[in-house]
Symmetry: none
Subunit: 220 residues, 4 copies
């Protein structure tokens, strides 16, 4: 997952011991709370450490710098999202396209809304350069899962499942990201769900149809 990261952002020490893992976890959760409380720009290492009940020094024992901390928080969050999506998609394998489209959308919405406050809190960090890379990596992983499901779809075949899967994942995640960031709350999840289902289904149908009529769809 952290493949794209430069060496300096790898956690300083591997938390082999239980206590270490507990500390790291506390630090990550504290980060989210601080994010929620004061926002990204005012998240300071001292504040995070305080909230986690440890000293700044300890924080720096586990993370080489602020960015590594944030990266870790993002990674854990995205892992959670991915796990949730994978979990909710499991039953979709072998189902017809209509169900798959709806199910995928539902899975993404559920994953994102499961901890909506965290999703909102992480919106900014996710948007910065560092975050974008981690997001890309996570998206690739999710695309793999989705590709697997599409491949098993009885009533549809795709020329380039990988690419279609990637596009669906990209569309869903970016749409939800935008929705979550919208502080005017003009988007309620239920309305969004219906339209996203239409979008997912429509896209997959179009893609399939194009393939059936032998038109070449270039990869992303």
């Amino acid at each position: 997952m952290a493949t794209g990261l430069e060496p300096s952002f790898k956690p300083r020490k591997q938390p082999v011991q239980a206590r270490s893992e507990a500390t790291v976890s506390a630090l990550c959760q504290a980060s989210i709370q601080v994010l929620l409380a004061v926002g990204y720009r005012r998240l300071t290492t001292t504040r995070v450490a305080e909230r986690a009940g440890v000293s700044v020094g300890t924080l720096y024992q586990y993370f080489p710098n602020r960015e590594a901390l944030i990266a870790s928080v993002i990674e854990r969050y995205l892992e959670g999202i991915n796990a949730s999506v994978a979990q909710n998609c499991r039953a979709l394998s072998g189902r017809p396209l209509g169900e798959v489209a709806s199910g995928l959308v539902d899975a993404f919405i559920a994953a994102k809304w499961e901890r909506i406050d965290v999703s909102r809190a992480l919106h900014e960090p996710l948007g910065d350069i560092r975050g974008a890379r981690i997001v890309a990596a996570a998206a690739a992983k999710a695309a793999g899962v989705v590709a697997g499901i599409l491949e098993n779809c009885p009533d549809a075949s795709f020329h380039d499942v990988q690419t279609s899967a990637r596009f669906v994942v990209l569309a869903c995640s970016s749409l939800l990201q935008a929705a979550v960031a919208d502080h005017t709350n003009s988007l309620d999840p239920e309305g969004l769900r219906v339209h996203m289902r239409s979008m997912a289904l429509g896209y997959l149908r179009e893609t399939r149809r194009l393939q059936e009529t032998a038109k070449v769809v270039p990869p992303l």
Copy 2:
């Protein structure tokens, strides 16, 4: 456009003189260059002023603070995007759904890629809280234009054009936003274009079809 902004972010001084307008413009362009050069986090008012060839004091004569400067840059950028989209969509009125879908996608891509470096530079600022509001306002405006086109579509009618238009705009802009941010460049605009066209067309067809079969589509 700037309706949602608090008064404290309004420009401090109206640039009535030609020289003033030139200064403001220089400042905004310098901001983009700084953004490109060092990123959002390290954009400082001093650096921007330097790059614009004026003193910090001058910057503060036109903008009450850093955020107002950024907000201005974003507004100008989004106005440009919207103008470009509107311009490129003009010929779409009265055309069949397939053309409309493709045309809309092309318009958005063209607008975003027209000054791809600026788009990339502004990705981060666009993502923070302040930026999100301006984006929302601009999106609403664009949705109006799109709604107008959809209404004139001869081969499709929508139960709630406004909502569908908003969704299309949201989908296109968030997708492109994500694409632009992807520094791995795995997404080339041409591949993206085909898939986005499929998505737009598919979504609009689904939405229309759903309406024809009398299913109620809730608003966003």
Copy 3:
């Protein structure tokens, strides 16, 4: 009055013309309004000029710098205070000590309270080094007036009227200065008046008595 000031603080140009004097006056009044509105620390030359309805440049045509402006304002204020005191004391010449003491106190209180908001506004400027000198000069002038009255007092004679007068002036002005600064408003002028009268009368009686018993009172 401005004897103790260094040359650089003398007004830059003598306002010989009526218009000039009007401008200077407007500037001084504007200063007081700004002082009232935002306090000493945030009084800026630009703000004063704005309030006076002229440009900063014009301000600098009449005052070499900010301090000179403030000094002018203080001088005008103290001249007003002194004029008021002198005016209110006029009838005291030739009256018995009791009346003189009361009358002096009343005159000082009246002068200070006449424009209580201005008195309060000028409290801080009066307290800084620059202000202290101007205050000292004004106090000396007032002491001269008081000395004249004490000399004409039928029922009391003083060994060193000058010194006694200076002390009374110092006591009254410093007491009122402190009273005016007290934002808790625990001191109402009426209560203060009674006690200050007692103080003035008591002091003058003690001083007189000491002199009668031939004790030498050193000058201040």
Copy 4:
């Protein structure tokens, strides 16, 4: 003492360790030195920190802002003054009015002149709004001590000792404050002492006499 202060001016960190207390103390002393060297307006947090031999950051670890630092310095100074006054007044309890008056004046003069340079240095800060409040609080405390002494005076009784005590304290402190600020040095402490004694004694006699003749003296 600091009761009237808003929370934001409370010291940021309680100096529990010996080293911390030393740092705070060094910072306060450095402030006075800076005040003496460059005056109130040009006292900067950086300069103070430099003088104290620590970094600005350290200063801000103990004081939330410049004003809090100044407030602390003032508080420490006034505590010293009050302690000194209280100390020097101790022997006055039970003594006749004449001795009490003289003793009080002497105590105030001694306290103020004990560290005359500090007194002078703090003149300006004492005069600004923030300072005035702390002064008021300290004055109230001193008035309590003086009231206790006046109550035990065998040859005088007062209708409202509290008020009389407050007035004496106010008179003495404001007079000395003015005297200290006078850079022309026209006031030597010895001359001042004699006149202040007359004033204190005269006032107290007048106040007492008024009460004996049943005249009502309003409270301050």
